[in-house]
Amino acid sequence: MRFIEPHAHMVSRTTDDYQALVTSGCEAVCEPAFWAGFDRRSAEGFYDYFCQLTEHEPKRAAKFGLPHFCWICLNPKESENLRLATEVMALIPQFLDRPNVLGIGEIGLNKNSRNELRVFEQQVDLAAKYDQLILVHTPHLEDKLKGTRLIVNALKADRRIKPERVIIDHVEEHTIELALDAGFWAGMTLYPDSKCSPARAVDMIENYGAERLWMNSACDWGVSTPLAVPRAGLEMRRRGHSAEAVDKMLRGNARQFLSQSPKFKLAGD
């Protein structure tokens, strides 16, 4: 089974995970900027992190023959402090031209606060000004429905934003239609205890179709599974989905969306 891992936080993972991904058929990994599990105290901390994503981690991935791409942004969990947010957002443009940067992400909301929404809108503005793809994080658990509505409304209110260049990630059964009906892409995140199981993800494919939809592991420093995407492919096979349908969901769709950035290339492209 060949696949693209379109959302993985590899700075938090081990070399064993890189080996497991590559030996399982992974052809590329994409890493959105995210919360480190603790709040950084200064913009310099973010500068170093953006350097890690654009300089160090691609080299680590290359040792396993795996192309590494990333997204740059200020994540929503650290958006409450507006002074820090302004300083970090000022750093972002200088990283957007780097060869493995695909766009702005994962921006979004966490607790659906006024400041989070303001910083989200400012980063959407940044994406529009620099003609960048957008990857959106939607909140967890009880906050997801409200947050997804606020996010979709904010994106629709900005006429410069082309929905086909935005992916709204971590959708579940109560939010997938909000994203797809507005013309956005939707990402299903496969987690052991929250977000979505492989069986529920395949249910959503069967209920909503396989267009503008991808699956990811979002593996990070928490309980998560780097091989969740191929395991969801196995779930599709168990139900009798064709090899072509599995390939489309595990590789084709992510490739279609990500190729909107001219920097996204697979080996042989």
Binding site: K111, E142, K146, E173, A199
Partner: protein
Amino acid sequence: MKRQQVLDLYFVEARAKLLDVAAFLDRADRAEGKDDFRLKAFRQALGQLRAGGADRARRVLVKLSDRTTQPVKAAGDKSACGAPPPK
């Protein structure tokens, strides 16, 4: 898939998860103290499992969601707890 295939593939797995939910409720009942907002929301969401229709997962998620529409004043705690806390 035919219903028989769904049952053959998923019945034992779903049975195990049903028992986990039953055991969780037994554990909570056995423990001293009162239900909090999470357990109350959980018990309400369970009602969706017995209702008809083919969108139980969506309805359970909505039951366990904050259904207000305005942004909150400040983020406060970063983590979510699985059910909307009382305001």
